[in-house]
Amino acid sequence: MSGSWKLLKRESLGRFLDELTAGAELWVPRRKGTRWEFDRYEPGKPAAFPASIIEVSAKALFFPRRRPIARFSPKAKWSLEPVELPAAPRIVMGMHPCDVAGVRYMDRVFLGNDHPDRLYEAERNRTTIVGMRCSEMKPTCHCTDRNLSPDETQGMDAVFAETESGFLFRALTEKGERLLGSPLLEATEQKPEAKEWPKGRHLVPAPDELMELYDDDFWLEASDICLTCGGCTFACPTCTCYLVADEKFGDEGERVTAWDSCQFLSFSRETSGRNPRRTNAARLRNRTLDKFAYSFHKHGMSSCTGCGRCVLICPIRRSFPQLGMKLKERAEDKKKSKARVS
Protein backbone atom coordinates (compact mmCIF):
# COMPACT_ATOMS: atom_id res chain seq x y z
CA MET A 1 0.00 0.00 0.00
CA SER A 2 1.01 3.57 -0.33
CA GLY A 3 -1.07 6.58 0.55
CA SER A 4 -1.16 9.99 -1.03
CA TRP A 5 1.20 12.81 -0.14
CA LYS A 6 0.30 15.01 2.80
CA LEU A 7 1.77 18.36 3.65
CA LEU A 8 3.15 19.35 7.04
CA LYS A 9 3.79 23.08 7.21
CA ARG A 10 7.25 24.00 8.40
CA GLU A 11 5.95 25.84 11.46
CA SER A 12 3.99 22.73 12.53
CA LEU A 13 7.01 20.41 12.59
CA GLY A 14 7.71 20.81 16.32
CA ARG A 15 4.08 20.20 17.23
CA PHE A 16 3.90 17.14 14.98
CA LEU A 17 7.02 15.65 16.55
CA ASP A 18 5.68 16.36 20.03
CA GLU A 19 2.50 14.50 19.06
CA LEU A 20 4.52 11.52 17.91
CA THR A 21 6.31 11.27 21.25
CA ALA A 22 2.95 10.69 22.96
CA GLY A 23 2.88 7.09 21.77
CA ALA A 24 6.52 6.20 21.18
CA GLU A 25 10.20 6.92 21.66
CA LEU A 26 11.17 9.25 18.83
CA TRP A 27 14.65 9.30 17.33
CA VAL A 28 15.74 12.08 14.99
CA PRO A 29 19.04 13.22 13.44
CA ARG A 30 21.10 15.52 15.64
CA ARG A 31 24.32 17.33 14.80
CA LYS A 32 27.09 16.53 17.28
CA GLY A 33 30.37 18.28 16.56
CA THR A 34 31.06 17.85 12.88
CA ARG A 35 28.77 14.90 12.32
CA TRP A 36 25.13 13.97 12.25
CA GLU A 37 23.85 11.06 14.26
CA PHE A 38 20.53 9.78 15.63
CA ASP A 39 19.46 10.92 19.06
CA ARG A 40 16.30 10.88 21.21
CA TYR A 41 14.02 13.74 20.30
CA GLU A 42 13.53 16.24 23.09
CA PRO A 43 10.25 18.14 22.94
CA GLY A 44 10.87 21.80 22.36
CA LYS A 45 14.37 21.28 20.95
CA PRO A 46 14.15 22.07 17.24
CA ALA A 47 14.79 19.16 14.89
CA ALA A 48 16.48 19.39 11.52
CA PHE A 49 16.89 16.84 8.80
CA PRO A 50 20.09 16.81 6.75
CA ALA A 51 19.64 16.75 2.97
CA SER A 52 22.01 13.81 2.63
CA ILE A 53 24.08 11.24 4.53
CA ILE A 54 23.82 11.05 8.34
CA GLU A 55 27.43 10.18 9.09
CA VAL A 56 26.71 7.84 11.98
CA SER A 57 24.48 5.10 10.59
CA ALA A 58 21.30 4.07 12.41
CA LYS A 59 22.74 0.54 12.63
CA ALA A 60 23.40 0.83 16.36
CA LEU A 61 19.68 1.44 17.03
CA PHE A 62 18.89 -2.05 15.81
CA PHE A 63 22.15 -3.75 16.64
CA PRO A 64 23.87 -1.89 19.50
CA ARG A 65 27.63 -1.85 19.87
CA ARG A 66 27.39 -3.55 23.22
CA ARG A 67 24.34 -5.69 23.72
CA PRO A 68 23.68 -7.72 26.89
CA ILE A 69 21.97 -10.94 25.85
CA ALA A 70 21.81 -12.69 29.23
CA ARG A 71 22.64 -12.10 32.89
CA PHE A 72 24.19 -14.44 35.43
CA SER A 73 24.84 -14.34 39.13
CA PRO A 74 26.21 -16.80 41.70
CA LYS A 75 22.92 -16.65 43.60
CA ALA A 76 21.21 -18.26 40.64
CA LYS A 77 23.97 -20.87 40.42
CA TRP A 78 25.42 -18.95 37.48
CA SER A 79 22.51 -19.94 35.31
CA LEU A 80 21.93 -17.65 32.37
CA GLU A 81 18.83 -15.47 32.47
CA PRO A 82 18.02 -14.12 29.02
CA VAL A 83 17.46 -10.35 29.01
CA GLU A 84 13.97 -9.02 28.50
CA LEU A 85 13.19 -8.14 24.92
CA PRO A 86 12.61 -4.44 24.26
CA ALA A 87 9.00 -3.75 23.33
CA ALA A 88 8.37 0.00 23.77
CA PRO A 89 7.21 1.43 20.45
CA ARG A 90 9.81 3.52 18.71
CA ILE A 91 9.90 5.78 15.68
CA VAL A 92 13.13 6.47 13.80
CA MET A 93 12.64 9.49 11.62
CA GLY A 94 14.89 10.79 8.87
CA MET A 95 16.75 7.64 7.84
CA HIS A 96 18.00 7.99 4.29
CA PRO A 97 17.63 5.20 1.68
CA CYS A 98 21.20 3.92 2.10
CA ASP A 99 20.70 3.52 5.84
CA VAL A 100 17.33 1.78 5.38
CA ALA A 101 18.95 -0.52 2.83
CA GLY A 102 21.38 -1.42 5.60
CA VAL A 103 18.46 -2.49 7.79
CA ARG A 104 17.04 -4.55 4.93
CA TYR A 105 20.36 -6.34 4.69
CA MET A 106 20.55 -6.86 8.45
CA ASP A 107 17.06 -8.40 8.27
CA ARG A 108 18.50 -11.07 6.01
CA VAL A 109 21.52 -11.65 8.21
CA PHE A 110 19.71 -11.78 11.54
CA LEU A 111 16.25 -13.01 10.58
CA GLY A 112 16.66 -14.85 7.30
CA ASN A 113 17.60 -18.20 8.79
CA ASP A 114 16.33 -20.90 11.15
CA HIS A 115 17.83 -19.17 14.18
CA PRO A 116 16.58 -15.61 14.12
CA ASP A 117 18.24 -13.15 16.46
CA ARG A 118 15.42 -12.47 18.94
CA LEU A 119 16.86 -9.19 20.19
CA TYR A 120 17.26 -7.81 16.71
CA GLU A 121 13.78 -9.02 15.86
CA ALA A 122 12.37 -7.19 18.88
CA GLU A 123 14.14 -3.96 17.91
CA ARG A 124 12.75 -4.27 14.40
CA ASN A 125 9.21 -5.06 15.52
CA ARG A 126 9.00 -2.11 17.86
CA THR A 127 10.32 0.34 15.30
CA THR A 128 8.53 2.36 12.66
CA ILE A 129 10.93 3.73 10.07
CA VAL A 130 10.01 7.12 8.68
CA GLY A 131 12.55 7.46 5.89
CA MET A 132 13.61 10.60 4.15
CA ARG A 133 14.36 11.24 0.50
CA CYS A 134 17.75 12.80 -0.01
CA SER A 135 17.72 16.12 -1.82
CA GLU A 136 21.41 15.98 -2.72
CA MET A 137 24.27 13.53 -3.15
CA LYS A 138 27.60 14.22 -1.45
CA PRO A 139 30.84 13.55 -3.37
CA THR A 140 31.27 10.32 -1.40
CA CYS A 141 27.68 9.16 -2.03
CA HIS A 142 27.35 6.45 -4.67
CA CYS A 143 24.04 4.75 -3.92
CA THR A 144 23.08 5.06 -7.60
CA ASP A 145 25.97 2.73 -8.42
CA ARG A 146 24.60 0.22 -5.94
CA ASN A 147 21.12 -0.25 -7.36
CA LEU A 148 19.61 2.33 -5.02
CA SER A 149 18.66 5.95 -5.41
CA PRO A 150 18.09 8.96 -3.17
CA ASP A 151 14.36 8.41 -3.82
CA GLU A 152 14.29 4.71 -2.89
CA THR A 153 11.56 3.86 -0.36
CA GLN A 154 11.97 0.09 0.09
CA GLY A 155 12.04 -0.88 3.75
CA MET A 156 10.44 2.34 4.98
CA ASP A 157 7.05 2.52 6.71
CA ALA A 158 6.59 6.11 5.65
CA VAL A 159 8.67 8.56 3.70
CA PHE A 160 9.00 12.31 3.66
CA ALA A 161 10.75 14.95 1.65
CA GLU A 162 11.61 18.48 2.63
CA THR A 163 10.23 21.23 0.41
CA GLU A 164 10.25 25.00 0.59
CA SER A 165 6.96 25.21 2.42
CA GLY A 166 7.49 22.28 4.73
CA PHE A 167 7.51 18.52 4.60
CA LEU A 168 5.63 16.12 2.33
CA PHE A 169 4.77 12.81 3.97
CA ARG A 170 3.46 9.60 2.50
CA ALA A 171 2.58 6.33 4.23
CA LEU A 172 3.99 3.13 2.74
CA THR A 173 2.77 0.52 5.22
CA GLU A 174 -0.01 0.25 7.78
CA LYS A 175 2.49 1.01 10.52
CA GLY A 176 3.37 4.19 8.67
CA GLU A 177 -0.26 5.06 8.03
CA ARG A 178 -0.92 5.08 11.77
CA LEU A 179 1.61 7.84 12.31
CA LEU A 180 0.19 10.12 9.69
CA GLY A 181 -3.31 10.57 11.06
CA SER A 182 -2.55 13.92 12.68
CA PRO A 183 -4.76 16.87 11.62
CA LEU A 184 -1.51 18.83 11.23
CA LEU A 185 -0.98 16.93 7.99
CA GLU A 186 -3.06 18.42 5.19
CA ALA A 187 -4.18 16.85 1.95
CA THR A 188 -2.22 18.34 -0.91
CA GLU A 189 -1.73 18.20 -4.65
CA GLN A 190 2.00 18.81 -4.19
CA LYS A 191 4.54 16.09 -4.86
CA PRO A 192 8.21 16.08 -4.04
CA GLU A 193 10.27 17.49 -6.86
CA ALA A 194 11.47 14.73 -9.19
CA LYS A 195 15.23 15.09 -9.49
CA GLU A 196 17.63 13.72 -12.05
CA TRP A 197 20.20 11.56 -10.33
CA PRO A 198 23.42 10.33 -11.90
CA LYS A 199 23.07 7.07 -13.80
CA GLY A 200 24.30 4.00 -11.97
CA ARG A 201 27.76 2.90 -13.04
CA HIS A 202 28.91 -0.68 -12.83
CA LEU A 203 32.04 0.06 -10.88
CA VAL A 204 32.61 -3.31 -9.33
CA PRO A 205 32.97 -6.61 -11.18
CA ALA A 206 30.17 -9.17 -10.82
CA PRO A 207 30.51 -11.56 -7.85
CA ASP A 208 31.80 -14.47 -9.93
CA GLU A 209 34.34 -12.29 -11.72
CA LEU A 210 35.49 -11.04 -8.35
CA MET A 211 36.02 -14.53 -7.06
CA GLU A 212 38.33 -15.14 -10.02
CA LEU A 213 40.52 -12.41 -8.58
CA TYR A 214 40.82 -14.12 -5.21
CA ASP A 215 44.50 -14.93 -5.65
CA ASP A 216 45.39 -11.81 -7.57
CA ASP A 217 48.34 -9.62 -6.57
CA PHE A 218 45.89 -6.76 -6.42
CA TRP A 219 45.13 -7.35 -2.75
CA LEU A 220 48.73 -7.10 -1.76
CA GLU A 221 49.19 -3.82 -3.62
CA ALA A 222 45.89 -2.37 -2.43
CA SER A 223 46.61 -3.20 1.19
CA ASP A 224 49.96 -1.35 1.17
CA ILE A 225 48.45 1.74 2.74
CA CYS A 226 45.49 0.21 4.62
CA LEU A 227 45.92 0.62 8.37
CA THR A 228 43.51 -2.25 9.10
CA CYS A 229 41.73 -0.28 11.77
CA GLY A 230 38.08 -1.14 12.19
CA GLY A 231 36.80 2.31 11.25
CA CYS A 232 35.10 1.30 8.00
CA THR A 233 33.46 -1.78 9.48
CA PHE A 234 31.99 0.12 12.42
CA ALA A 235 30.74 2.95 10.20
CA CYS A 236 29.24 0.53 7.65
CA PRO A 237 25.46 0.07 7.90
CA THR A 238 25.76 -3.60 6.93
CA CYS A 239 28.81 -4.83 8.85
CA THR A 240 27.25 -7.08 11.45
CA CYS A 241 30.07 -9.24 12.85
CA TYR A 242 30.14 -9.47 16.60
CA LEU A 243 31.93 -11.32 19.36
CA VAL A 244 30.41 -12.80 22.50
CA ALA A 245 31.99 -12.20 25.89
CA ASP A 246 31.11 -12.88 29.50
CA GLU A 247 31.71 -9.82 31.65
CA LYS A 248 31.63 -9.99 35.41
CA PHE A 249 31.31 -7.08 37.83
CA GLY A 250 31.54 -8.11 41.45
CA ASP A 251 28.75 -10.60 42.03
CA GLU A 252 26.89 -9.94 38.83
CA GLY A 253 27.70 -10.66 35.26
CA GLU A 254 26.47 -10.25 31.74
CA ARG A 255 26.92 -12.15 28.54
CA VAL A 256 27.20 -9.54 25.84
CA THR A 257 27.65 -9.26 22.12
CA ALA A 258 30.02 -6.51 20.98
CA TRP A 259 30.85 -5.28 17.49
CA ASP A 260 33.87 -7.02 16.06
CA SER A 261 35.74 -6.30 12.85
CA CYS A 262 37.24 -8.56 10.19
CA GLN A 263 39.98 -5.93 9.93
CA PHE A 264 41.36 -6.94 13.33
CA LEU A 265 44.14 -9.48 13.48
CA SER A 266 42.43 -11.20 16.39
CA PHE A 267 39.16 -11.61 14.48
CA SER A 268 40.20 -14.73 12.61
CA ARG A 269 42.63 -16.19 15.12
CA GLU A 270 41.68 -19.80 15.77
CA THR A 271 41.94 -21.67 19.06
CA SER A 272 45.03 -23.48 17.85
CA GLY A 273 46.74 -20.13 17.34
CA ARG A 274 46.58 -20.43 13.58
CA ASN A 275 45.32 -17.35 11.80
CA PRO A 276 44.19 -17.68 8.19
CA ARG A 277 44.06 -13.90 7.73
CA ARG A 278 47.34 -12.75 9.13
CA THR A 279 48.14 -10.20 6.45
CA ASN A 280 46.55 -6.83 5.74
CA ALA A 281 45.96 -8.07 2.21
CA ALA A 282 43.91 -11.06 3.37
CA ARG A 283 41.81 -8.86 5.62
CA LEU A 284 41.20 -6.19 2.99
CA ARG A 285 40.24 -8.91 0.53
CA ASN A 286 37.82 -10.39 3.01
CA ARG A 287 36.00 -7.12 3.56
CA THR A 288 35.88 -6.18 -0.11
CA LEU A 289 34.68 -9.61 -1.21
CA ASP A 290 32.17 -9.72 1.62
CA LYS A 291 30.62 -6.48 0.43
CA PHE A 292 30.56 -7.36 -3.26
CA ALA A 293 30.57 -11.16 -3.59
CA TYR A 294 30.00 -13.23 -0.44
CA SER A 295 26.92 -11.17 0.45
CA PHE A 296 25.35 -12.08 -2.89
CA HIS A 297 26.09 -15.73 -2.34
CA LYS A 298 24.90 -15.78 1.26
CA HIS A 299 22.00 -13.35 1.29
CA GLY A 300 21.13 -12.64 -2.31
CA MET A 301 21.99 -8.94 -2.20
CA SER A 302 25.13 -6.87 -2.12
CA SER A 303 25.92 -5.55 1.30
CA CYS A 304 27.33 -2.28 -0.04
CA THR A 305 24.60 0.33 -0.05
CA GLY A 306 26.80 3.01 -1.57
CA CYS A 307 26.57 5.32 1.44
CA GLY A 308 30.28 6.18 1.42
CA ARG A 309 30.58 6.13 5.23
CA CYS A 310 33.73 4.02 4.89
CA VAL A 311 35.32 6.77 2.80
CA LEU A 312 34.28 9.47 5.23
CA ILE A 313 35.69 7.66 8.24
CA CYS A 314 38.90 6.29 6.72
CA PRO A 315 41.99 7.93 8.27
CA ILE A 316 43.66 7.75 4.85
CA ARG A 317 40.52 8.59 2.88
CA ARG A 318 40.53 5.21 1.14
CA SER A 319 37.75 4.99 -1.35
CA PHE A 320 36.06 1.63 -1.74
CA PRO A 321 34.41 2.64 -5.03
CA GLN A 322 37.91 3.33 -6.32
CA LEU A 323 39.07 -0.09 -5.18
CA GLY A 324 36.11 -1.46 -7.12
CA MET A 325 37.14 0.41 -10.26
CA LYS A 326 40.65 -0.95 -10.05
CA LEU A 327 39.26 -4.45 -9.57
CA LYS A 328 37.14 -3.93 -12.66
CA GLU A 329 40.27 -3.08 -14.69
CA ARG A 330 41.96 -6.15 -13.31
CA ALA A 331 38.99 -8.37 -14.18
CA GLU A 332 38.92 -7.04 -17.75
CA ASP A 333 42.64 -7.71 -18.14
CA LYS A 334 42.11 -11.21 -16.89
CA LYS A 335 39.30 -11.84 -19.38
CA LYS A 336 41.50 -10.61 -22.24
CA SER A 337 44.43 -12.80 -21.30
CA LYS A 338 42.11 -15.79 -20.92
CA ALA A 339 40.66 -15.16 -24.35
CA ARG A 340 44.17 -15.11 -25.78
CA VAL A 341 45.06 -18.46 -24.23
CA SER A 342 41.88 -20.28 -25.28
Binding site: T34, R65, E221, L227, G230, F264
Partner: protein, 280 residues
Protein backbone atom coordinates in the same frame (compact mmCIF):
# COMPACT_ATOMS: atom_id res chain seq x y z
CA UNK B 1 59.27 19.56 -10.95
CA UNK B 2 60.23 20.43 -7.40
CA UNK B 3 63.56 19.29 -5.99
CA UNK B 4 61.74 16.68 -3.95
CA UNK B 5 59.91 15.25 -6.96
CA UNK B 6 63.18 15.30 -8.94
CA UNK B 7 65.08 13.41 -6.26
CA UNK B 8 62.27 10.88 -5.90
CA UNK B 9 62.39 10.25 -9.64
CA UNK B 10 66.16 9.89 -9.62
CA UNK B 11 66.12 7.40 -6.73
CA UNK B 12 63.42 5.23 -8.29
CA UNK B 13 64.88 5.46 -11.77
CA UNK B 14 68.53 4.80 -10.99
CA UNK B 15 67.67 1.90 -8.73
CA UNK B 16 68.58 3.35 -5.34
CA UNK B 17 65.21 2.27 -3.98
CA UNK B 18 62.48 -0.21 -4.97
CA UNK B 19 59.47 1.83 -3.87
CA UNK B 20 58.82 5.28 -2.55
CA UNK B 21 56.15 6.24 -0.07
CA UNK B 22 54.80 9.76 -0.45
CA UNK B 23 51.51 11.65 -0.85
CA UNK B 24 49.46 11.96 -3.98
CA UNK B 25 46.32 13.96 -4.72
CA UNK B 26 43.16 12.01 -5.44
CA UNK B 27 41.00 14.38 -7.48
CA UNK B 28 37.93 12.22 -6.85
CA UNK B 29 37.93 13.09 -3.16
CA UNK B 30 39.92 16.32 -3.43
CA UNK B 31 42.39 15.18 -0.80
CA UNK B 32 45.83 13.60 -0.62
CA UNK B 33 46.46 10.02 0.40
CA UNK B 34 49.61 8.01 1.19
CA UNK B 35 50.71 6.38 -2.06
CA UNK B 36 53.46 3.96 -2.95
CA UNK B 37 55.38 5.05 -6.06
CA UNK B 38 57.25 2.49 -8.14
CA UNK B 39 59.73 2.82 -10.96
CA UNK B 40 58.02 4.40 -13.96
CA UNK B 41 55.36 6.20 -11.90
CA UNK B 42 55.14 9.96 -12.34
CA UNK B 43 56.85 11.44 -9.31
CA UNK B 44 55.65 14.85 -10.51
CA UNK B 45 52.41 13.85 -8.77
CA UNK B 46 54.04 13.85 -5.34
CA UNK B 47 52.41 16.42 -3.11
CA UNK B 48 53.98 17.95 -0.03
CA UNK B 49 51.91 20.58 1.70
CA UNK B 50 49.60 21.21 4.63
CA UNK B 51 47.32 18.36 3.55
CA UNK B 52 49.98 15.72 4.17
CA UNK B 53 48.86 14.81 7.67
CA UNK B 54 49.44 11.05 7.64
CA UNK B 55 52.45 9.66 9.44
CA UNK B 56 54.22 7.63 6.77
CA UNK B 57 56.73 6.11 9.20
CA UNK B 58 53.86 3.87 10.30
CA UNK B 59 54.03 1.91 7.05
CA UNK B 60 57.77 1.35 6.98
CA UNK B 61 58.10 -1.89 9.00
CA UNK B 62 55.60 -3.62 6.67
CA UNK B 63 57.10 -2.12 3.53
CA UNK B 64 60.72 -2.99 4.25
CA UNK B 65 59.61 -6.60 4.67
CA UNK B 66 58.27 -6.51 1.12
CA UNK B 67 60.76 -4.27 -0.66
CA UNK B 68 64.48 -4.27 -0.37
CA UNK B 69 64.93 -0.55 0.06
CA UNK B 70 62.16 1.92 0.54
CA UNK B 71 62.26 5.67 0.05
CA UNK B 72 59.98 7.74 2.22
CA UNK B 73 59.02 11.38 2.46
CA UNK B 74 58.90 12.44 6.09
CA UNK B 75 57.67 15.46 7.95
CA UNK B 76 59.43 16.39 11.18
CA UNK B 77 57.02 14.41 13.36
CA UNK B 78 57.13 11.36 11.07
CA UNK B 79 60.92 11.55 11.25
CA UNK B 80 60.82 11.48 15.05
CA UNK B 81 58.72 8.31 14.86
CA UNK B 82 61.27 6.80 12.48
CA UNK B 83 64.10 7.70 14.87
CA UNK B 84 62.40 5.75 17.64
CA UNK B 85 61.66 2.84 15.30
CA UNK B 86 65.37 2.73 14.46
CA UNK B 87 66.44 2.99 18.12
CA UNK B 88 64.07 0.17 19.03
CA UNK B 89 65.46 -1.98 16.18
CA UNK B 90 62.09 -2.19 14.57
CA UNK B 91 63.77 -1.50 11.22
CA UNK B 92 67.33 -1.04 10.02
CA UNK B 93 68.49 2.23 8.57
CA UNK B 94 69.94 0.48 5.50
CA UNK B 95 66.50 -0.35 4.20
CA UNK B 96 65.30 3.26 4.35
CA UNK B 97 66.12 6.33 2.28
CA UNK B 98 64.64 9.35 4.01
CA UNK B 99 63.61 12.42 2.01
CA UNK B 100 63.08 15.24 4.44
CA UNK B 101 61.43 18.44 3.24
CA UNK B 102 61.03 21.29 5.71
CA UNK B 103 57.47 21.17 7.02
CA UNK B 104 55.42 24.34 7.48
CA UNK B 105 52.77 22.56 9.50
CA UNK B 106 49.67 20.63 8.50
CA UNK B 107 45.95 21.27 8.70
CA UNK B 108 43.32 19.03 10.22
CA UNK B 109 39.68 19.88 9.44
CA UNK B 110 40.76 23.16 7.92
CA UNK B 111 42.71 24.44 10.93
CA UNK B 112 46.41 24.27 11.76
CA UNK B 113 47.05 21.07 13.71
CA UNK B 114 47.63 21.66 17.42
CA UNK B 115 50.69 19.41 17.42
CA UNK B 116 52.43 21.77 14.99
CA UNK B 117 52.66 24.46 17.67
CA UNK B 118 54.61 22.05 19.88
CA UNK B 119 56.80 20.63 17.11
CA UNK B 120 60.50 20.46 18.10
CA UNK B 121 61.85 19.46 14.68
CA UNK B 122 60.16 20.83 11.57
CA UNK B 123 62.47 18.68 9.46
CA UNK B 124 62.91 14.96 10.08
CA UNK B 125 65.86 14.16 12.37
CA UNK B 126 66.61 11.20 10.08
CA UNK B 127 67.37 12.63 6.65
CA UNK B 128 69.34 11.37 3.67
CA UNK B 129 68.19 14.30 1.57
CA UNK B 130 66.95 17.57 2.99
CA UNK B 131 64.84 20.13 1.19
CA UNK B 132 64.46 23.63 2.58
CA UNK B 133 65.98 25.07 5.73
CA UNK B 134 66.00 23.12 8.99
CA UNK B 135 64.51 24.92 11.96
CA UNK B 136 64.59 23.70 15.53
CA UNK B 137 62.39 24.70 18.40
CA UNK B 138 62.75 23.15 21.79
CA UNK B 139 60.26 24.95 23.98
CA UNK B 140 56.93 23.25 23.45
CA UNK B 141 54.29 24.79 25.63
CA UNK B 142 51.68 22.07 25.24
CA UNK B 143 49.09 24.83 25.50
CA UNK B 144 46.22 22.39 25.07
CA UNK B 145 47.08 20.95 28.47
CA UNK B 146 46.45 24.17 30.38
CA UNK B 147 42.71 23.62 30.47
CA UNK B 148 43.19 20.08 31.82
CA UNK B 149 45.81 21.07 34.37
CA UNK B 150 43.48 23.66 35.86
CA UNK B 151 40.87 21.01 36.55
CA UNK B 152 40.49 19.20 39.88
CA UNK B 153 41.03 15.43 39.77
CA UNK B 154 37.26 14.95 39.81
CA UNK B 155 36.74 17.36 36.94
CA UNK B 156 39.49 15.67 34.99
CA UNK B 157 37.91 12.28 35.43
CA UNK B 158 34.58 13.78 34.39
CA UNK B 159 36.19 15.22 31.26
CA UNK B 160 37.99 12.07 30.22
CA UNK B 161 35.13 9.76 31.20
CA UNK B 162 32.92 11.70 28.82
CA UNK B 163 35.52 11.28 26.08
CA UNK B 164 36.21 7.59 26.74
CA UNK B 165 32.46 6.93 26.82
CA UNK B 166 32.46 7.68 23.07
CA UNK B 167 35.16 5.16 22.17
CA UNK B 168 34.00 2.49 19.71
CA UNK B 169 37.14 0.43 20.18
CA UNK B 170 37.85 0.49 16.46
CA UNK B 171 41.55 0.77 17.34
CA UNK B 172 42.21 3.35 14.63
CA UNK B 173 44.40 5.10 17.26
CA UNK B 174 46.53 1.99 17.58
CA UNK B 175 46.70 1.21 13.89
CA UNK B 176 47.64 4.74 12.91
CA UNK B 177 50.40 4.90 15.54
CA UNK B 178 53.87 3.96 14.28
CA UNK B 179 55.01 3.10 17.80
CA UNK B 180 52.02 0.90 18.68
CA UNK B 181 53.50 -2.14 17.03
CA UNK B 182 53.14 -5.03 19.48
CA UNK B 183 52.78 -8.34 17.70
CA UNK B 184 49.92 -9.17 20.06
CA UNK B 185 48.26 -6.08 21.46
CA UNK B 186 47.18 -6.23 25.08
CA UNK B 187 43.66 -5.41 23.88
CA UNK B 188 43.64 -8.55 21.74
CA UNK B 189 44.98 -10.85 24.41
CA UNK B 190 42.48 -13.51 25.42
CA UNK B 191 44.18 -15.15 28.39
CA UNK B 192 44.40 -13.29 30.59
CA UNK B 193 41.86 -10.89 29.19
CA UNK B 194 43.30 -7.63 30.45
CA UNK B 195 40.82 -5.42 28.68
CA UNK B 196 37.22 -6.41 28.06
CA UNK B 197 36.35 -6.16 24.40
CA UNK B 198 32.92 -4.56 24.69
CA UNK B 199 32.31 -0.88 24.54
CA UNK B 200 31.80 0.44 28.04
CA UNK B 201 33.47 3.08 30.13
CA UNK B 202 35.64 0.91 32.38
CA UNK B 203 37.10 -1.08 29.51
CA UNK B 204 37.43 1.96 27.25
CA UNK B 205 39.28 3.92 29.93
CA UNK B 206 41.53 0.95 30.56
CA UNK B 207 42.39 0.78 26.87
CA UNK B 208 43.29 4.47 26.55
CA UNK B 209 45.27 4.65 29.77
CA UNK B 210 47.24 1.51 28.99
CA UNK B 211 48.05 2.86 25.57
CA UNK B 212 49.23 6.18 27.01
CA UNK B 213 51.50 4.35 29.47
CA UNK B 214 52.96 2.12 26.76
CA UNK B 215 53.88 5.21 24.79
CA UNK B 216 55.39 7.11 27.70
CA UNK B 217 58.79 8.50 26.74
CA UNK B 218 58.36 7.19 23.20
CA UNK B 219 55.48 9.17 21.72
CA UNK B 220 56.73 11.47 18.97
CA UNK B 221 53.58 13.59 19.13
CA UNK B 222 52.53 13.12 15.53
CA UNK B 223 48.95 13.59 16.69
CA UNK B 224 47.64 10.87 14.39
CA UNK B 225 45.67 9.14 17.17
CA UNK B 226 43.50 12.21 17.65
CA UNK B 227 43.12 12.80 13.93
CA UNK B 228 42.16 9.24 13.09
CA UNK B 229 39.65 8.85 15.91
CA UNK B 230 36.19 8.63 14.32
CA UNK B 231 34.62 9.81 17.56
CA UNK B 232 36.85 12.85 17.93
CA UNK B 233 38.38 11.78 21.26
CA UNK B 234 41.37 14.06 21.98
CA UNK B 235 43.68 11.10 22.61
CA UNK B 236 46.76 13.25 22.05
CA UNK B 237 46.05 15.09 25.32
CA UNK B 238 46.89 11.94 27.27
CA UNK B 239 50.11 11.44 25.37
CA UNK B 240 51.37 15.00 25.68
CA UNK B 241 50.50 15.07 29.38
CA UNK B 242 52.88 12.14 29.76
CA UNK B 243 55.45 13.66 27.39
CA UNK B 244 55.44 16.88 29.37
CA UNK B 245 56.34 14.89 32.49
CA UNK B 246 59.04 12.99 30.63
CA UNK B 247 60.56 16.24 29.44
CA UNK B 248 60.52 17.71 32.94
CA UNK B 249 61.97 14.57 34.55
CA UNK B 250 64.47 13.43 31.95
CA UNK B 251 64.90 16.37 29.60
CA UNK B 252 63.96 14.17 26.66
CA UNK B 253 61.81 14.87 23.60
CA UNK B 254 61.35 11.43 22.09
CA UNK B 255 62.71 10.90 18.60
CA UNK B 256 64.68 14.11 18.32
CA UNK B 257 68.11 12.49 18.79
CA UNK B 258 69.16 9.30 16.99
CA UNK B 259 71.32 8.02 19.86
CA UNK B 260 69.02 8.72 22.79
CA UNK B 261 67.30 5.68 24.27
CA UNK B 262 63.72 6.13 25.46
CA UNK B 263 64.15 7.06 29.16
CA UNK B 264 61.59 4.62 30.54
CA UNK B 265 63.18 1.58 28.94
CA UNK B 266 66.70 2.56 29.94
CA UNK B 267 68.63 1.42 32.97
CA UNK B 268 71.07 4.20 33.81
CA UNK B 269 73.55 3.93 36.64
CA UNK B 270 73.34 7.63 37.30
CA UNK B 271 69.58 7.56 37.63
CA UNK B 272 68.75 9.99 40.46
CA UNK B 273 66.00 7.80 41.83
CA UNK B 274 66.85 6.28 45.22
CA UNK B 275 65.01 3.09 44.33
CA UNK B 276 67.58 2.54 41.60
CA UNK B 277 70.49 2.97 43.97
CA UNK B 278 69.30 0.05 46.03
CA UNK B 279 69.29 -2.18 43.02
CA UNK B 280 72.56 -1.25 41.39
Amino acid sequence: MTELQQKAHELLDKGGIDALLAWKLDPAIGDVRPTLFKKGDDTGEIVFDERCVHNLANYLPTLVARYNRVGVVLKGCDGRSLTTLLIEHRIGKNSIVALAPACEGVKVNGARAQKCDDCPTTTSPVADYEFGARRLKDDAEFKQLERIEKMSPDERWQFFAEQFEKCQRCYACRQVCPLCYCELCIADQQEPKWIEPSRKLSANAMWHLVRAYHLAGRCSDCGECSRACPEGIPIRLLNIAVEKLVREQFGVRPGTKPDELPPLVTLAKDDPDEVMEEHL
